[in-house]
Symmetry: C2
Subunit: 203 residues, 2 copies
Amino acid sequence: MERNDAEPAKRGRGRPPSVEVRRRILETAAVVLLENGVSEVTFDKVARRAGVSRMTLYKWFRSPGSLALAAFEDTYAHTLRPPSSGDVWADLRTHLREFVANLSEPRTGPMIAGLLGSAQSDPVLAEEISATFTRPRREGAVELLHAGRTRGQLPASIDVEVLVDQLWGACYARLLLPEGVLDEAFADALVANLRATIHASAD
Amino acid sequence: MERNDAEPAKRGRGRPPSVEVRRRILETAAVVLLENGVSEVTFDKVARRAGVSRMTLYKWFRSPGSLALAAFEDTYAHTLRPPSSGDVWADLRTHLREFVANLSEPRTGPMIAGLLGSAQSDPVLAEEISATFTRPRREGAVELLHAGRTRGQLPASIDVEVLVDQLWGACYARLLLPEGVLDEAFADALVANLRATIHASAD
């Protein structure tokens, strides 16, 4: 077999081959997830396409849903960190726009909706989604809003945890409920509504 | 057979027996839905329990999901109308508390979550849920907020459609996402956050 790896073999020695196998599995699962949706991510299909045994998948992933989620996390975890410019309004707009772009992208949107849909009848998948996706995102959002409140850009009496549901949660609702458009204008309107109420008495 | 109906037979003549059959089917489906969840509402089970043929069910309902939704609508449609006291804050609190009580009730909460979960992979069910449940609720909510804006209780610049997602949508998010508690305190906190921002500049 040809060897294309330019790195010295010595460096590769400490790296267990299982890391490479896992990488290949996750990439394969991500492709299936994006192309066909969560219901098509089966151990059979991913094992065949990735050229690994089904036993390997059973060993590492509790269920096809867990595998799909791990593949999703691997691809999208980098979008979870909030910006921090010092201006809560700029940060909110940037972060919510990015979030909405993610949720409304023709491939990732249905994928996230599908995972959350499956989670309604799979409590373990629900907990996995929380641990890898929705909880880290919430923590980032809380951090962003806390900073704004500390800087006096948001009223001191505001409940930051609840405000997360009124901004990010509203986006999830538009994703998962049958009516309502989820687009950049909606992201901006969420922030505008918050500003409108804050500035109402000053007008 | 014994006849318990106190109404004259003449009056009953114009009423097709199919109405009674339909009623029995919906009541049976509602019981299965409440006791076992949406995945257990099958044509087989409901036909057997209601003492009707499966053909009857196929004739009237597109899918078991549609049947479950019709049963749900039949039981819960009366909770969709918003109050209208003239005070937007009182109305919001009352209506959101009632909504949250519905969504967090141990039997109806998982039922609604299950229907919305199934809808993620069933676009026709999604449209049916919208037509019978989420859209009428949204319309009632918009009406309530519009009235408050007209009375000057909400800023004139507020986007009422988006505000619905920031109040009711936030509750759906808490129902469907794995973290976050959905209780009366949350309903009150949603309203309190809105008031906090409105009164922030006046403080």
